[in-house]
């Protein structure tokens, strides 16, 4: 897989983990929250959201549970597991390093 996709996928994973760290949420909620927090810059379509959610679940970083939504509909709620919390910390650290590095390169006066 080309590294750019890797980065992208890894980024989506990190965004989902970070979002779920606040509270358990269903898929729509996650997409909405990311869109709102990023001020409409980041929009995650369902085409990448659900494969990512399932992938994270199979990896044991998040877990799912059926519950009822705010308007009393049946919905699948995802929450962070302990392994997920650790993974989030790792992702954050990696992101920090990466963004600092990119900033260093990009902000160096030409």
């Amino acid at each position: 897989m080309p590294p750019s996709t890797d980065l992208l996928q890894g980024t989506v994973d990190a965004l989902i983990l970070k979002t779920l760290a606040l509270e358990p949420m269903h898929g729509w909620g996650v997409a909405l929250r990311i869109q709102q927090v990023s001020k409409d810059v980041l929009q995650i379509g369902q085409g990448s959201l659900y494969p990512a959610l399932h992938r994270l679940e199979y990896k044991g970083w998040i877990q799912s549970e059926w519950g009822s939504s705010e308007n009393n509909r049946r919905a699948k709620f995802y929450s962070l597991t302990r392994a997920g919390k650790k993974q989030l910390e790792a992702e954050l650290a990696t992101w920090e390093r990466l963004s600092t590095a990119i900033a260093l390169v990009l902000e160096t006066p030409a």
Binding site: W28, G45, Q46, P51, R55, Y58, R73, K76, A83
Partner: protein, 890 residues
């Protein structure tokens, strides 16, 4: 760790595709609601949401691919699909599996037989540097050394790191304790084990003081004996066991895989205590005979070692007694060869030939499988094109083809394993004695793995190749004018025909050679004749008188038995080889034994007067031995025609006197004079395949000196009888038991005895013949497959041609030509290769040249006929094509 555990949990849990649908539905509804909230009409909100949502099916698939079991599910799906395909086309499936099974089983079985001969690692440290070194001569073709010069070699040799010996013969010895047991005892020098790089698993090697004559009597026992006799008791060390009635101390146990380098049987190893001075002078300056082995210094090869030993070899003459020097000059050679060659003798040549033929069979089988898979691939171009158009990726199609090839290969491999076990049992059953380790041969897992991998590879390679090409959209129309891979398949068939041509030529040469062997003129009568071989024990029949008495009593008992019309005694039976002397040791009046060349070997047998009558050997001049001569003090001789012509050219020979050597019990030759009373017709000697030697017979009289020989206590009774062998066998055993109930008796019909000598050529012929016909059958299947495929592909063309006026005969010729091209090319290449390779069979062939024109012409005709027949069948059906049907073919 925990991650893989989680994955494992999901692997076994049921996948919930409904849940995913519900989730997606939920997501969609929320987006519609969000759109409505943003002020759209419900219809517009739904439309926009669906557009934003994208392909639901694709999301479903992508989510499904995240599941740990997704890959397995896909494989299972492919397997089900493949199995459905196999069921629809059973002929194809059975042909592929049978071809693979045949290839795998033949290769595995043959490889299991030849592996210990060619590739087995010898149970010694750095065995590649071990050699067998010694003298050879026409009477003893296995290297030996003698105590008289051995110490010169030990002190003066340069090429070897170490040199050691074992006594020339492993002797029978008896464990004379409770439950007595007969064992084999070998005697070895003190540095024997260290030279071979072997150390005892328990206890120690011999000490220097144990190697002196009259030193402490000690022994090392083999692991096998330790297990069977002493229950692996470590307390065996320093215990005394009774060997031949005297106590011997066990000082060690040899490793489980230990064997003597010359593969002689041995249960107990004892010191060969040699006194240097005694060896130099004892036994007429000859010393004890030994088998000598040595370890080459690093970097010294066998040729160099031989060259460096040559001066020492020349020096031997000085140590020899004068009467042996002449023979030494003309007949003795120095021989150094690798231990493996020493062990395997000439088995390695036939092993290589078998291996080569079976690999050819495997290649033909693989080519067949490849060809069949490619035909299937080509026939499915349209199917592939459809699937590709529906969105299957190239990898996905190749994966499907690979699964199919793997399934077929695995089925073939399993069937092959079963068949290999059967084949191996058949091999062992028909194999002659003297193929090393055959008894221990078993199907080797490594070999099965190897052949399975080869068949997998050829299956995978040729099965996947057609699928890897992106099918052309044109294929969808079904107008498959271009036949992909047809050229490759035709080349494969050419290769198959060439390979089977080579196999057939080899098989045919061996078959004709075997025919010659079986139908050669033996010079004697073998029907209704029994042979009774009896070997007397040293302990009970120590003197010549005792032996003579036993055999004469038995003769009296057997002579007047039921249906016995004639009886004779001899020390050996033709066509087996008898004793040998050099032609030069024979002398006639006026010409004493010559001092020059040895003149080659002469066979000699000691016989009773009934010998020629019983075996039906015609006396061509003079007469045979008479009963009256048994008590004479004179010696009487009958010559074979071949010897008479050579000794007495242009004379009658009968009545002439001849001098010959008789060896006494110490092996020292003593010259005797005798009278030639007759000349007998030539009889085959030197077994069935050896060179025919001149021969003379001496009468074994009723005098103990004629029975005096310490190394051969076997006498063979030859009986001509009208009763069935089974009846006679029982009766003869009863007679022998009357005299001595425990003596060893070996009863066979003379035909069985002769047939046993043909066991080896029979084995070679049967095996190579089997491979040749298997190869031919598979090549013909391949040819048939390709031609009928081509004919089917050209149905439409044929229809057009016929509509334009081509006659049926033209069509037949058109298709036939496709086959003839392949047959001619393959046959030509095969013939050229066969003629180049047939030289390697030379040593296996009897009375036939490796370029025998009859064999080669026969093989060419056979191949041409069968191959043409295989072409004719599809060509004929192409001829019968109805043009109307053919043109509507699409």
């Amino acid at each position: 760790m925990s991650e893989s555990l989680t994955r494992l949990r999901f692997f076994f849990s049921r996948s919930k595709s409904d849940e995913l649908d519900e989730e997606l539905q939920f997501h969609l509804e929320h987006s519609i609601e969000a759109n409505i909230a943003a002020g759209m009409t419900p219809e517009e909100a739904r439309r926009q949401a669906l557009i934003a949502f994208g392909g639901i099916e694709r999301t479903r698939e992508q989510t499904g691919e995240q599941h740990p079991r997704w890959l397995l599910g896909m494989v299972m799906q492919d397997i089900r699909y493949a199995l459905r395909g196999f069921r629809r086309n059973p002929l194809f499936t059975v042909t592929v599996i049978a071809t693979l099974a045949l290839g795998v089983s033949a290769t595995t079985a043959v490889f299991s037989v030849v592996d210990p001969i060619l590739f087995r690692s010898l149970p010694y440290a750095h065995a590649d540097r071990l050699v067998s070194v010694g003298l050879v001569q026409s009477l003893e073709t296995q290297e030996f050394t003698l105590g008289g010069f051995f110490f010169d070699w030990v002190h003066n040799q340069k090429p070897f790191e170490a040199i050691t010996s074992e006594g020339a013969v492993s002797q029978e010895c008896d464990l004379t304790e409770r439950n007595p047991e007969q064992l084999s005892c070998a005697r070895v020098l003190g540095n024997f084990l260290s030279t071979l790089g072997v150390s005892p698993v328990l206890g120690r090697n011999f000490l220097p003081e144990e190697m002196r004559p009259n030193g402490p009597d000690v022994a090392l026992i083999t692991y096998g004996l330790w297990r069977s006799r002493f229950n692996r008791d470590p307390g065996i060390l320093n215990k005394l066991i009774d060997i031949d009635g005297s106590p011997v101390r066990v000082v060690g146990v040899l490793p489980e895989d230990f064997e003597l380098p010359d593969l002689q049987p041995a249960d107990v190893i004892r010191p060969l205590a040699l006194d240097e001075t005694a060896q130099r002078t004892g036994n007429g300056g000859i010393g004890a005979p030994m088998r000598t082995f040595a370890r080459l210094k690093p970097g010294v090869n066998i040729e160099q070692a031989r060259a460096e030993m040559e001066p020492l070899f020349q020096n031997i003459q000085k140590t020899l007694p004068s009467q042996l020097r002449n023979a030494f000059r003309h007949d003795f050679r120095l021989k150094v060869r690798s231990l493996r060659d020493r062990q395997m003798q000439d088995a390695s040549r036939i092993a290589w030939i078998l291996l080569g033929s079976v690999l050819a069979v495997l290649l033909i089988a693989c080519a067949n499988v490849a060809s069949l898979l490619m035909a299937r691939g080509a026939a499915r171009q349209r199917d592939l094109a459809v699937r590709s158009a529906l969105g299957a990726s190239r990898i996905r199609l190749a994966w499907q083809a690979l699964i199919e090839a793997l399934l077929l290969s695995m089925a073939g491999a399993v069937a092959g394993c079963v068949f290999a076990e059967i084949l191996l049992r058949v091999f062992i059953a028909i194999a002659p004695a003297g193929i090393p380790f055959l008894g221990k041969t078993h199907i080797d897992l490594r070999i099965i793995l190897f052949t399975v991998v080869v068949s997998l590879l050829c299956g995978a390679l040729f099965g996947v190749a057609p699928a890897l090409q992106k099918p052309k959209p044109l294929m969808l129309t079904g107008r498959s004018q271009t036949v992909p891979h047809a050229a490759v398949r035709q080349w494969l068939v050419v290769g198959q025909i060439a390979a089977s041509m080579v196999l057939l030529a080899g098989g045919m040469l061996l078959l004709r050679s075997f025919w010659n062997l079986q139908n050669q003129h033996l010079g004697m009568q073998t029907e209704k004749t029994l042979t009774v071989g009896i070997t007397l024990e040293q302990q009970h029949y120590a003197t010549a008188e005792q032996q003579m008495a036993f055999f004469q009593q038995l003769q009296t008992l057997l002579q007047y038995g039921p249906g016995v019309s004639s009886l004779a005694m001899s020390d050996s039976v033709p066509p087996g080889s008898g004793s040998h002397v050099f032609y030069s040791s024979l002398g006639i009046v006026g010409r004493p034994p010559s001092e020059g060349r040895t003149g080659g070997l002469v066979t000699t047998r000691k016989v009773s007067p009934g010998y020629f009558r019983t075996l039906g050997i015609p006396i061509v001049k003079g007469e045979g031995f008479r009963e009256a001569e048994l008590n004479s003090s004179e010696q009487f001789i009958v010559l074979s025609k071949r010897l008479a012509v050579r000794l007495f050219p242009g004379k009658s020979a009968v009545g002439d006197r001849m001098q010959f050597d008789r060896f006494d019990s110490n092996g020292v030759p003593k010259p005797l004079w005798g009278t030639v009373v007759g000349v007998a017709d030539n009889v085959r000697n030197g077994e069935l395949t050896g060179e025919e030697e001149p021969e003379y017979y001496t009468l074994r009289r009723n005098r103990s000196e004629d029975w005096d020989s310490n190394w051969r206590r076997t006498e063979v009774f030859i009986l001509r009888t009208s009763l069935p062998p089974a009846v006679m066998f029982r009766w003869i055993r009863a007679q022998v038991a009357k005299l001595d109930p425990i003596v060893l008796v070996n009863i066979e019909t003379l035909n069985q005895r002769v047939s046993k000598m043909a066991a080896r050529p029979r084995f070679e012929t049967v095996l190579l013949g089997f491979f040749a016909f298997t190869g031919l059958a598979m090549a013909i299947i391949g040819l048939y497959g390709v031609i009928s495929f081509v004919a089917t592909q050209r149905t439409q063309e044929i229809g057009v041609r016929m509509a334009l006026g081509a006659g049926r005969f033209n069509i037949l010729r058109l298709i036939l030509w496709e086959g003839v091209r392949l047959i001619a090319l393959g046959g030509f290449v095969g013939l050229a290769v066969a003629l180049t390779l047939s030289r390697v069979l030379k040593s296996l062939l009897f009375n036939i040249s490796p370029y025998d024109p009859v064999s080669f012409i026969g093989v060419v005709l056979l191949l041409a006929l069968v191959a043409l027949a295989a072409t004719l069948i599809p060509a004929r059906s192409a001829m019968k094509v109805d043009p109307v049907v053919a043109l509507r073919h699409e």
